[in-house]
């Protein structure tokens, strides 16, 4: 076996109609077609899904953990962005 590894792919699966695709994990494959088949074999053996997306991990542009202070913390002090300041009228259930 060659030491050079196949590219890494991220796998997203839609569990049933109407739901969104969710990230379930990653795997290695030489091309997109192989990635799709490997995802089918590795992640849907127990009927976990009806649709699969694969994206080469290289194509994921991620936020930088070292910037998390300026990136995420400002939102913490803005509790008014949550719709928690409304009185729910009587008679409305399931809220």
């Amino acid at each position: 076996m060659s030491i050079k590894e196949w590219p890494l792919w991220e796998v997203f699966i839609r569990s049933k109609q109407g739901l969104n695709h969710k990230h379930v994990g990653s795997l290695r494959a030489a091309d997109a077609e192989m990635a799709l088949e490997n995802a089918r074999d590795v992640y849907t053996r127990r009927s976990e899904g009806i649709s699969i997306w694969v994206v080469e991990s290289n194509n994921v542009f991620a936020s930088d953990p070292s910037e998390s202070q300026e990136f995420f913390e400002p939102a913490d002090s803005k509790i008014y962005r949550h719709p928690t300041f409304y009185d729910v009228p009587d008679g409305i259930s399931h809220m």
């Binding site: 076996m1 088949e37 490997n38 053996r45």
Partner: protein
Amino acid sequence: MNQAHVDFVLRIADDSLILGHRLSEWCGHGPVLEEDIAMTNIALDLIGQATSLLNHAASLQGEGRTGDDLAFLRFDREYRNLLLVEQPNGDFGMTMMRQFLFDAYRTILFERLQSSSDEMIAAIAEKSLKETKYHLKHSSEWVIRLGDGTEESHARIQESLNTLWRYANELFYTDAVDDEMRNAGILPDLSDLRQQWENTVNHVFQEATLTIPANNWKQEGGRKGMHSEYLGYILAEMQYMQRAYPNMEW
């Protein structure tokens, strides 16, 4: 009991059983984790088909035996599988080539058997066809990838083709069993089986830049219970537990 009917079911069942066992030998030894799981999935599909078919054969026999008895307590000469499916795994390319030659045949067979007058066979064929279509997709893509890959992968899978080609002719073996099954409506018309199979195979080999070997030597015998030296070893491993500890369950 109709012996031809039993033999006919055993031929299909034993192909699944022996190839399933061969593929299961890869479990934990696959070239990469993903492919290890893929091959194990295919092996499990085949063992599942064998279970349904052997149970059916046992009930046709009507002698109180079960599918398990047929799988684990027959002698080598009583197995009806193709010589192709008992051939050793070799390298990964050899395994994929064996699988491809078989899948291309099996897809057509199951397509046709869906209209069998034996309703059990028709139902098993319908369920198995979905599995087999995927097996064919998987194996044909690997044959193309390796054939049209690097210089080494091309040379090695061409060598696999050269080795296995002599067993391909047995896919189209017919005898009195087939005639009787056709007359009974259990076996639908398969007169164009070879032509259909060659269409698939030629198309894939062209993309894979592989050449069918000129050597025309053809080996057959499995359908009549005459096997290569490999089947005995497979059965020794498969049947050991049931022979050593009769009736044990786990």
